[in-house]
Point group: C2
Chain length 202, copies 2
Amino acid sequence: MTKQYHDNVLPGEALDQIFRDARTYNGWLDKPVSQDQIEAIYDLMKMAPTSANMQPGRFVWVTSHEQKDRLAELASDGNKDKVRAAPVTVIIGYDIDFHEELPWLFPHTDAKSWFEGDEEGRKEGAFRNSALQGAYLILAARSIGLDCGPMSGVDLDGVTKEFFADQPRVKADWICSIGYGDKTTIFDRSPRPDFAKFNTVV
Amino acid sequence: MTKQYHDNVLPGEALDQIFRDARTYNGWLDKPVSQDQIEAIYDLMKMAPTSANMQPGRFVWVTSHEQKDRLAELASDGNKDKVRAAPVTVIIGYDIDFHEELPWLFPHTDAKSWFEGDEEGRKEGAFRNSALQGAYLILAARSIGLDCGPMSGVDLDGVTKEFFADQPRVKADWICSIGYGDKTTIFDRSPRPDFAKFNTVV
């Protein structure tokens, strides 16, 4: 039975935790993130929608010192130390051949055939929908009491080559550190636009 | 003072509402969405992170019968009736010249200069980060007790031309209906992958 929550606004503190008080951190407390927490994040984020349930995101969770060093080498100068210090940094990649999985991911119809022979369309769909999944990942991590530090300052071709070597159709797109944020490492909150600035109602 | 929520896992019912029980709807109850609700969604989603706070998303909220018809004409056959029936359908677009706004959106440093002369990089950043914003939009709408129906089956060039005519550097990217979902219009839940399928921990 489908449960609905019409007009049920989440408590203010929950909205604060995932949207309003949450911040992007540049440094981390020395406190580990467990495999259970990593899987809890994924078990939430995977429930949120992607187009035709394509789930094109492929995720490498970097947790060992050795692999953090390897990833840090490929990060921009400003991001190297962040990657080394974070308990986990997840690489968000996308699979250009996600359509091969559609027969089981979207069993209602033959969605695979929509994408066959259209590599450009697949690349666009994979890019857009893996970005959605990355956003779900950030809010899922926050919803279990963790903080995030998303970063795009990284040599993506290098990360693709180093971390998706066994998946030749996957491209790395950005990275996101996860852990317990260190309050002393955040900037002042950047301004947010009023509704009228970037929105129109017609 | 920055408030933190370390190890505070949101109540199961909140996680159900935004991730686990929420569904993508194909039809809508005859119940309006107010301007206050639209603004409440934006006021939450705008707090979530984008790269250098670029906030490249530009949003047109289609609420009037006349404009719904105009948008429905540009939707794929399977989506026309959904757009006509939904209380609101928001067009998610992105501004390729978002960097012009960075002096006030990211006042910590001269981020505008990072993007000048690099239209390809701006397009990629705008595409990725407006997708993140669209994902925040979906979870924000759910968090105030509304349902979503995201769709990419739409003539994007047509929507760009018709709905962003006054913003020549903005491109439409996808659309998302918002309202009170009609339970009778959903498919069976599509399968979700186990952690091991698309994740690696290193």
